[in-house]
Every structure is written in C-alpha cells, then in structure tokens.
Amino acid sequence: MTAAAGLIRRDRGMPAWVGRVVTQLGVAAAALVVAALLLLVIGVSPVDAASAFWSGTFGSPTNAGTTLTQAVPLFLVALGWIVADKAGRMHVGFPGQVVTGGCAAAAVGLHSGGLPGVVAVVLCALAGIAGGALWAGIVAWLWASRGVLEIVSSLLLNLVALQTLAWLVRGPLQGSLDRQPQSANFPASALWPAVESVPGRTLSYDVILLPLLAAGLIWVFARTTFGFELRASGGNLEAARWSGINPVRQGVTAIVISGGLAGLAGAALLFAGSAPWLSEGFEAGIGFNGIAVALLARNSPVGAILTAIVFSSLNVGGTSLQALLDVPSSLASVLQGAVIVLVLVAAVLAHRRRRAAPIKMKELVA
C-alpha cells in the first residue's frame, strides 16, 4: 500500500468494505420501512406480518430449508452476472439460459431412471450447464463475430427459449396424466440429495455451492491469470489489448461461463426443489431477480450469498404472508421492486462518493 493510499484510507475514516456493508444495511432498513408502511396501508400489523414472515422463512427447519434451497438458483445467476460484468459484458439472457439449462437437464433426467444416483445427478447438472452455456454461446458468437450488442441478442433469445419451453412441455416432454403442460416426474435417482434430518427434506445439499462457488470465484478473480485478464478486459479494453490480452476472447469466455452458471441454476430449480417436473413457468423470474441479487450485492460474490437469501426469503415469505394473513401476493413483488430501486439509489450515492475521492488526493498532494 502506498503512503498516499494509506492517507486516503485514513482520511475516509473506515475501510471500503465497511462502507459497502453500511450501504447494504441502509438499503435493508429502508426496505423494511417501505414494507411496514405498505402493510399499514392495507390494514395489517407489521408486527404480525414480521411474525408470519419469520414463521414462513426461518420459523422451522422445513421452511428454512426451502428458503435456503431456493436461494441457490438466485445466487448462481448472480454469479453469472458478476462474471460477465467483470469482463465488461452486460447481457440479460439469464431467463433464457435458466430455461435452456433446465430443459436440457430435464431431458437427461427423464431418461436417467436406470442410472446410479450419483451418475444421474452429475449428468443432469452437466446437462444444465451445457444447455445454458450453449444458449449463451449464441449471444457470445453474435457479439464477437457480428458485433451484435449482447444485451439485444440475449433479450430476444429469452423469448425464443420461453417459446421452446412452451412447445416442449406440450410436445416431446409432456408427461402428465391429463395432458397438462408439464413433464412426467423425474426419477427419484436423478433428484439432488437433501438433508435427511430436515423434515420434508427441503434442504438440498446444493446449498454447499453458496460458499464454495463464492470462494472459488474470489480466488479466480484475485489469484489467477484468467481472472486478471477478465478484469483487465472489463476495466479498460485498450489497455488490455496493449497488454497482450485478447478482450474479445475474454468476453466470449465470460458470457459462456455466465450462461453455464445460469443453466446450472435451471437444473437446480428442477432437481433440488420440491417440484421435480418441468413446467412452463418453472423459471419463476429467477433470471432477472438474479441480476438484482448481484446488483444489491454490488457484484460481490460474498454479498450475493446474503442477498440471494434475502430475495428467496421475500419469495417464500410472501406466500406465507398470504396464507397466514391474507396479504396480497403482489406485495412481495412490490417489495422486491422497492429493494431494486433502493439499490439504484445506493449505487448513485456510492458513485458520487467515489467521484469525490480524487479531490482529496489533490489536496493531499498539494
């Protein structure tokens, strides 16, 4: 650390990460205030709502298992966003990649009844990763070879993926007794293992991915050449080129990896949750909510663990609020929207603070 940087740090009075945590806590507190006000408007006591929310999310091992398990797909999509963002690529194809990953995993899962459990689980996960990565590969190819903006192509490919899913559940993968748009149930051997001691087996072992992938990604970014090249490509394109880094290759790689993570999220939604079949709406907004998770975490893999759990709690707790207090289902969506808006406000404030820093540097030099 240089002397000047040290002076700056002391001048700010606290390390940067403390500021980030304070910002996130501030967002959470503001969201709570907004929620309390909304509840009061519809005539529900915030205290009763808090109790029902707690009961539905962490009030029992069963519900906590559900909340944590549902956080995993959100977290995976958030990591996908973070990887692409580090390389300077901003695509919004996660819903499509979750869907294609889920469809690929479902196609494999439905035919894996005779395989040993471990093989079936690994195959389904790999199929999910491959499905998402291939779908993202189209975006990457269009960007790298044709100069098509990835945000445009990925958005349009989302629609293609959703229509493909609608066709699959009514056609080749349709498998329910009365021809509902659903597949047959996946064989038990293909389902991802869950903690037996949690009633209802709602806590899937895939929650291990939360710390493992967060730590892994931090290590890749901080300690590997690949991570450095990725960050360099995202930081300054020209500087990266002059350093001998191929930013296009890094961008393509980042988009494909982010698609693979989203595809894995699709597989997790189907095989780690308690709804082991493919249905039209299985993506459930995970693709876009995952982006919000990453934004709220300010692109920190560690922060994404917490924010994914917060968003998952909002989903699960929203249903609980309906069931216990008859709170409208749209309130959870309103809360999520409020959180995203508050995140944007926090981002603007953080940006202003960063812009203020060089002035202090000048003062120090003078």
Binding site: A71, V207, A214, A275, I305, A323
Partner: protein, 342 residues
Amino acid sequence: MRLRIALISLATAIPVALAGCDGNSAGEKTDGVTNIGFLAPAPRNDGGFTQYALAGVQAAVDADPTLKLTSIVDNAAESQQQIDGLTSLAAKNKVVVADGAVLNKAVAVVAPKYPDTHFVLIASDLESLANNVSSVTVAVGLNAIVAGAVASNQSKSKKIGMIAGPEVPSSTAWYYGMKQGAAAENAQTQVSQAYTNDYNDVGKAKQAAEAMIANGVDQILSDLDSGSTGIYQAADGKAGTGVYNVFALHCDDNPNIIGSGIVNWSDVLKTAVTEAAAGKLPAGAISFGLKSGALSYQFCPGKGTDAQKALAEKITSQISDGSITPAEGVLLPKPSYAYEQR
C-alpha cells in the same frame, strides 16, 4: 483474502443456524371450527373460474357457522410457489381447496405430508389415488355439445369457433363438445379453435377473435375469464358476430352475447367443501354432470329463437338419456382409481 473467507463462512453460517430455530407449529385446529384454505394459480377476482369457485367456498362457510375460510393464496402460477402455498395452508387448515387443473402435481407432492388435511383438487385428477385427496371435475364437454348445436344453428356462415386460455383437457373439451354438437345440428358446420395461453389476457383474446372473424367465423365461444373482453371488442367490430360464455351468464357485458354454457362451479364447490368438512367427501375422482344440475345451457334475455331453445332442450335430454354419447375428447380422461359420476 482471509477476511473474505471469514465473511463467506459468516454469510453461510447465519442462515443455516437460523434454520435450527424452530417456531411454534401452525398446524393447530381451533376447537369446533373447521378451517378452510384456498389456493389458486389465477387472481381471486378473475371474473370467472377462480371467482366462482371462491364464491362457492364462501357460500359453504356462510351456510355453516362451524366453517371458517382462513386463508386465500392466489396468483400462485409457478410449481414451487404452489407447493409452498399448499404447504402453508395445509399446516393450519383441515380442508384445502386447490383450485386449478395445473395444481395436480403440487397436490400430489404436499398431500402425503399432511394426512390429516383433506385436499379438494378442482378441474383435474391425480395420477394416482391419495387417501386424503378428492378431485372434483365437471363434465363441461357435455355442455359444449349443446352450445355447439345452438351456435351452429345461429351461424349464417356455418363457421363457429372456440377461444380458450391454455390448451388443456378442461379447455379442449369445449372444442370437441362444440364440434360434436355442431355436427348434430348441421354436418357442414366447421368449428375452429384458438388458445391464448392466458385466461385473462384481453389483447391476445382480441387478436384471436379478430383472426377467426376474418376467416368467416360468426359465432365464438369464450372459455376465458377476464380475457373475454377481447372477444367482445372483436365482436363489436363485425355486426352479426355472436358470443357465448362459459360458467355464467354475462348478458350485461356485451350486446352480442347469445347465451352461456353454465357451469355452476359455485354450487359444485359449496357441495364439495361442505362434504369435505363433514368428512363425507370420498377420496378419489368425482365428476359432476348434467344430472347433478352443475351444467346447463341458458340464453340471454331476448336472445335465441324458439327453435334454438327447443334444440337446446332436445340435445340436453338426448345427452341425459344416453342417446347422444360423448365423442373422444369431450370428457376428461378418466383415472384408473375410484371414480364417481354425479
């Protein structure tokens, strides 16, 4: 790096630790009162299927002071959300109504975990029998036969159509029934079908209806909820287009409405909930037909000629006495386990 690893551990450990904090059980049943929960994939005020079903549950509660409708979960469109909702409801209610064909798999997941709760699944059957689940369906296709015959008689172009939300058996039954009824009235009548994949999307319904009208269709049956408004708007644009509703008469909504294939979901739900609360609703599949009074075809005031009214009565009686037998696709697939036709 060490700090980050510590933060990762903390971020993961806190929620896992919280998971061990067991709250009080919500599964208590109040003495003397039977709690009822209701879950639907659509909004509770959809102006159609869900709204009528909820009205039936409310009617059962109003008729019996020992029944209480404690909770309503609506807009549960996605499987995981449906499972979460049913789980929450099952923990605190003796009877849980799952109002929608698409809930069949979710009910199959949740019901075995709550053997003391009676689940009433509406408009679909389970893939295999569960001892605490009664699936309640209505043979809407029988009503569609009557509607098809009347629409065929009313049509000048001899082209009639049906527009529904998702292409599921409870909707396709309307198409196959209309086809059979139209053929009984005039073998030359053509019947077309369109699906908007959403019972409440007005725009898609309008587009589908306009496309049909452009192809010469002049009588359209709407198996939609609030999406029916789109069909009314399309019919307003072409004089002579007749519209037919399902579930209930909506004669005041649009002057082009001829009548409705009434499906009295409210009565069906009232009966089912009352019996389930009293422990008298058998497990297995129960289908309500013409004999139960759940189905009937009715004209709007001032609509329908005497000949058409006579035709409706004739087709109805022929279905009831068995001289008209439902063609393929008119009735929902019959499950292999306990089945009761009412």
